[in-house]
């Protein structure tokens, strides 16, 4: 197995983990909040709101302007 394949598998596993967390949260298994609920909680404060929105803008710049 090449190093590149291992890297790709690493990304796939981490993204799958994020998806599983969201599914568990929506099914109310454990005490995991949904991603939306968690972001909403972080954005209760102006600093958190600014940080999350800046992250969203950065994503757009990184993938669509570069």
């Amino acid at each position: 197995m090449s190093d590149r394949t291992i890297t790709v598998i690493g990304f796939v596993v981490i993204i799958a983990l994020l998806v599983v967390l969201e599914i568990l949260a929506r099914r109310k298994i454990g005490r995991i909040p949904t991603l939306g609920g968690w972001l909403g909680f972080v954005m209760r404060r102006p600093a958190g709101r600014a940080l999350i929105l800046a992250g969203w803008l950065w994503l757009g710049w990184h993938y669509f302007a570069r």
Partner: protein
């Protein structure tokens, strides 16, 4: 006199109920007379077409160009202005979240950043970053357009939070 107070409170409640016919107190967009999102299909169709058209336009901009930069910044400015001047009805944020439950998200996101950082630091073809993997996937114009639409909708969802 308790009985008198109860009767006065009851009368006040009835007067308030007669004025406000809504079953729940109005807030956000509804309080300003805005209608629910699904109530204007024609308007929603126009907005949807405009979003897709804009995404198509941005998807066609040359990388690293001023036009691409401005076309990314413009939605940010528009959403910022909407959030500040005329915020939509917001989805109520939870009063608290479970710290142990939140830690799963923090760990998973930290893992993603760590894996990405190690790839960027390496900078080798056999250790590609997430960007190196995603860019070829979204290179076709229609797919890039779809990705931009998802990004714009995510921005709108954040404004509603």
């Amino acid at each position: 006199m308790p009985a008198g107070n109860v009767s006065t409170d009851e009368a006040a409640r009835r007067r308030a109920a007669a004025i406000d016919h809504h079953p729940v107190p109005l807030a956000g967009g509804e309080a300003r007379g805005q209608v629910p999102a699904g109530a204007r299909p024609a308007r929603n169709a126009i907005i949807g077409a405009a979003v897709i058209g804009y995404a198509w336009l941005l998807g066609g901009a040359a990388p690293f160009s001023t036009r691409a930069l401005l076309e990314v910044l413009l939605p940010g400015a528009v959403l910022g202005a909407i959030a500040y001047a005329r915020p939509p009805e917001r989805i109520p944020a939870p009063e608290s979240v479970d710290m142990a439950g939140s830690s799963y998200w923090i760990i998973a996101i930290a893992l993603l950043f760590e894996w990405e950082a190690s790839a960027v630091r390496d900078g080798r073809p056999w250790h590609p970053s997430l960007t190196d993997l995603i860019n070829p996937l979204i290179a076709p114009h229609p797919i890039k357009t779809a990705a931009i639409v998802v990004w714009l909708l995510a921005g709108w969802a954040l404004v509603r939070r």
